[in-house]
Structure formats: structure tokens, C-alpha cells
């Protein structure tokens, strides 16, 4: 079963607010779950810790994952998601600040679906988020739910 939720894994509260603002400006009305660190993200996806009550069969439509996260970094979260049959096909978009070649390589090597660098200029950031929402929530064909 799939909710039309978007999971945003981001520790910087400013970035959270600006991303949510950009979604609103892009008229993206989907529910957005904000997660603040890598450990919490894994708890969410695999129904452990604070999310023990969550039905893990319900997958979000899209995951926006920052790389530089407290506790467990984004790359580790991505690897864990890809290693598990339940989440291996989940669309994951890296939404980060760095564009260092090595980090981009590592993200793709570990199976991210897209890599987006947050632009400093807010207009560009808003455009990027809007187009991303449009593409991944409307045009993209998600992986079928039965494995």
C-alpha cells in the first residue's frame, strides 16, 4: 500500500522550513513527514524505535535524503534501504549541499534515483523543488507494490 507521502530526511531546521515553503509555493499538497537524522529515518522505514507502531508495508512515494546527517549519514541510510527487499526500489532523491564528485559517485553507486544540489538562490531552489515534485509525484511511474 502506498500513501502519497513524501519523507524529508533533513536535520537543518532552516532547510526544512525552506523546503516546506518551496513545496507550498509549488502547490504540492502531499503530506510531508520530516525526519531529523539517519537513525530516525531507519526507525521510520523499518518500524523500529519510536516508529514501532508504524505499518512498514506503507511506503512513501518519494524520499528526499540529505547526506550530511547526525548519527547515521545519508549514504548509510541509502545503503540500508537498498539492501532490504522491502525498500530496495523506493525512489530516493539525494537533496544535499555538496556537489563533490566523490559524493555524487558514491550516491549513484549506492542506488540513489536522482541527485539534487540545493541551490543557494531561493528562486532556483523553489523551481527545483517544484519540478522535482511535478516529475516524481505525477509523471514518474513508481515501482509496482507487489515485489
Amino acid at each position: 500500500m502506498r500513501e502519497r507521502t513524501i519523507v524529508l530526511v533533513e536535520d537543518n531546521p532552516d532547510d526544512v522550513d525552506l523546503t516546506l515553503r518551496a513545496f507550498r509555493a509549488g502547490n504540492i499538497a502531499n503530506q510531508i513527514v520530516v525526519i531529523r537524522d539517519g537513525a530516525e529515518a531507519l526507525d521510520y522505514f523499518f518500524g523500529t524505535g519510536a516508529y514501532a507502531a508504524r505499518d512498514v508495508a506503507i511506503l512513501p512515494t518519494l524520499v528526499l535524503l540529505d547526506l550530511n546527517l547526525p548519527k547515521i549519514d545519508g549514504l548509510e541510510v541509502l545503503k540500508t534501504l537498498r539492501a532490504d527487499p522491502r525498500t530496495k526500489r523506493l525512489p530516493v532523491i539525494i537533496l544535499t549541499t555538496s556537489q563533490e564528485q566523490d559524493e555524487v559517485f558514491r550516491a549513484y553507486d549506492n542506488g540513489c534515483n536522482s541527485y539534487l544540489r540545493k541551490p543557494v538562490e531561493s528562486g532556483q531552489f523553489r523551481d527545483a523543488v517544484k519540478q522535482l515534485g511535478l516529475y516524481w509525484l505525477i509523471w514518474n511511474v513508481p515501482p509496482p507494490e507487489s515485489q
Binding site: 532547510d15 544535499t96 563533490e100 559524493e103 531561493s122 531552489f125
Partner: protein
């Protein structure tokens, strides 16, 4: 050595052993001529007493004397020979000592060499560690400096959008300045990271079509600034042996500069080509008819964050040419410029000795056959 010492000892022993003394002389009868004499000799030969009774004439005495003299000469010669021998032996010993010393010196040298190699290996490791640290630092600069900047930019944009009505003209102007400064700082961080990026990583040489690369860069410039009219000439057949990504960055900066600094010309003209060879390396150039600069400031051109024009005149952080210089130097080449205020600028660069110059760089005729500008 032992034998000669033995002979010497024997000679000396013989001398002492053969010492003897005359016991008595008996002269018989008178008569004509020299009468024979009888000598009673008591000889001490090798510890044994020997009593001899010799009857000899005057000739006999002469013979004995001569024999004694010969014996003495033989002994002296033997002594001289043995002395020489000793000298030679001493010289030999000296030589041997010297050989040993040399061997020791050689061993010391090879030990020092080994030590040196070990230190080089150690330093290389340290350098690699420092490089890794630098990379981590750059990555953290990219992350950590840009994040707050995005906050400043994003919230001043939010303030502008949401509270525009409550701000007077001054307030709006300040907001605009905050956003511009933020954008500039973002660009600065990006440039700084680009500059550090060209010094890191492996240089992967391959044959690069500089003509095609140049046109690609120009197409990007035109796309970013479609209103801009500029005549661009890029010589055909420019190629080089180099790292594609780095050369792309170098041309981006050089052609980008030409594009920027000629923007105030009514008829901007940008040219890229090659001008023969220098020290076996192809000399490429990028030339514009823009603002140029005074040659007395040329020393500042390639230093990061040094600018020859104000930001309001021509925007930029002053990192581009420093980046280009690092790129060409990593290729084993160099870069220099010729200009005058208001006379446009020409940047010349080389990319080091090509792996296969015949194949990789255009033939000199090709360079001079109308592709190269007359001036230079």
C-alpha cells in the same frame, strides 16, 4: 710473507752461527815465494764447535776474504729486500684498510639511501593523509558554509515575499543587498571549491579536441546570455593531450573571461587558436578585444582573489585565472598574457610536452596557415 721472514732469520742465524775465531797461524819453512800457512780455526756453526785446521796460501786467504765479503753483501741484500717487503706489506695493509673503509662508506651510503627512501615513503603517506584531510575539509566547506547561506538567502526572500507591504523602500533595498551579497558569497565558495578541485585528483591525459571543446563552451556562454552579440572564431583542428574535465574548466574560464571583458565592446570579437611552438610545446591562445589590463598589473592576474577590475565594472571573484594557471601547470605547461588598458587581452598557454606530438598537436604549418593572428 712467511717465507721471506724465514730467509731473513736464516741469514741472521748464519751470520751469528758462522762466527768463529782464528786460533792460531803457523807458517812453515822459508824458501822462495809465499809459503803456505796453516790456520787453526775454531768455528761455532749453529751451536756446534768446529775445529778446523786449514793450510792455505795467500790466494786461499784472498778467496776466503772474498767469500766473506760476498756473504756480507748477500746478507745486506737480503736485509734490504726484506725491508722493501715490509714497506710493501705496510702499503698493502694501508690499501686493505682503505678498501675496508670504502666498503664501510658504501654501506653507509646505501643505508642512508634506504633511510631516505623510507622517509620519502613516510612523507608520501603523510601527504596522502593531508590530501584526504583537505578533501574532507573541502567537502565540509561545501556543506557547512553553504547551508547557513541558503538560510540567509531563503529567509530574506521569504521576508520580501511575505512582508513586502510592511517594508519601506529602504527596507526593500537592504533586503535586496543581503540577497546579492549572499549570492556572491555562494559563488565565491563554489569558485574556491573549483580551485581546490583542480589541484586534487588524478590527471587523466587523453587526446582532447580543443576546437570542439571551445565551441561547446561558447555555446554554453551564448545560452546563458542569449542577447549578447559577439563574433567568435575558433581555429579548426586544435587538439591537445590533457585531462578533458580540467581542460574544459580552463577553457570555460578563459573564454568566459574573454566573453565578460569584451561585453562593453560594440563589436566584440573573441578568438582562439594556436601560435606555433615554444620549447617543443604548442602555444595556444585566447584573444579578445575587450577591456584589457595594464601590463604592470600582470603579476596579480593569476593570484586567487586578485582582481584588476572592480566588481561593479565586471563581476567575478578573481579565482578563474588562478584556476586556469593551476590546470595548465598540472599539465606541465604555463600561461602568460599580453594586454594594454582598453586594448583587449591575449592569454597564451601551453599544456606540457604532448605524449605523441605528431598526432596530438597540429602541425606548425597548420598553426601559421591563417589561423594565427598576425600580432602576438
Amino acid at each position: 710473507m712467511d717465507r721471506s721472514r724465514g730467509a731473513l732469520v736464516a741469514g741472521a742465524l748464519f751470520c751469528t752461527a758462522a762466527s768463529g775465531y782464528l786460533v792460531g797461524v803457523h807458517q812453515a819453512g822459508g824458501g822462495g815465494g809465499t809459503p803456505p800457512r796453516t790456520y787453526l780455526l775454531n768455528l761455532n756453526l749453529f751451536g756446534r764447535s768446529l775445529h778446523l785446521t786449514l793450510t792455505v796460501g795467500t790466494m786461499g786467504v784472498a778467496v776466503i776474504l772474498m767469500l766473506t765479503v760476498l756473504l756480507a753483501v748477500a746478507v745486506i741484500l737480503t736485509m734490504v729486500a726484506s725491508h722493501r717487503k715490509r714497506q710493501a706489506e705496510a702499503a698493502n695493509r694501508e690499501l686493505e684498510t682503505e678498501i675496508v673503509e670504502r666498503r664501510r662508506a658504501q654501506e653507509a651510503v646505501s643505508r642512508l639511501n634506504a633511510e631516505l627512501e623510507r622517509r620519502v615513503a613516510e612523507r608520501t603517506l603523510e601527504l596522502q593523509a593531508a590530501n584526504a584531510e583537505l578533501e574532507a575539509f573541502c567537502s565540509s566547506v561545501a556543506h557547512d558554509l553553504r547551508a547557513p547561506l541558503r538560510g540567509i538567502e531563503g529567509f530574506s526572500a521569504a521576508l520580501f515575499e511575505d512582508c513586502r507591504g510592511r517594508l519601506d523602500q529602504h527596507g526593500l533595498d537592504y533586503l535586496e543587498r543581503i540577497r546579492k551579497a549572499t549570492a556572491r558569497m555562494g559563488q565565491l565558495i563554489d569558485d574556491l571549491l573549483a580551485l581546490s578541485r583542480v589541484s586534487r585528483g588524478e590527471l587523466r591525459r587523453q587526446k582532447v579536441d580543443l576546437t570542439a571543446l571551445g565551441w561547446e563552451v561558447v555555446a554554453d556562454l551564448r545560452r546563458a546570455d542569449p542577447e549578447r552579440r559577439a563574433e567568435v572564431i575558433i581555429a579548426d583542428g586544435l587538439s591537445a593531450s590533457g585531462d578533458l574535465q580540467l581542460l574544459h574548466a580552463a577553457l570555460e574560464n578563459l573564454l568566459g573571461n574573454a566573453w565578460k571583458y569584451s561585453s562593453k565592446q560594440p563589436q566584440a570579437r573573441i578568438e582562439m587558436g594556436c601560435r606555433g611552438e615554444q620549447h617543443g610545446q604548442t602555444v595556444y591562445f585566447v584573444k579578445d578585444n575587450g577591456a584589457g589590463f595594464e601590463m604592470k598589473y600582470a603579476g596579480k592576474l593569476f593570484k586567487p582573489f586578485q582582481r584588476l577590475h572592480s566588481v561593479s565594472e565586471f563581476p567575478g571573484a578573481g579565482v578563474g585565472l588562478a584556476t586556469v594557471q593551476r590546470i595548465v601547470r598540472r599539465h606541465g605547461g604555463d600561461i602568460w598574457a599580453e594586454s594594454g588598458a582598453g586594448q583587449g587581452a591575449t592569454f597564451y598557454f601551453t599544456l606540457g610536452p604532448a605524449a605523441d606530438p605528431d598526432r596530438l598537436s597540429p602541425a606548425p604549418e597548420e598553426c601559421s596557415a591563417g589561423n594565427s593572428p598576425a600580432g602576438g
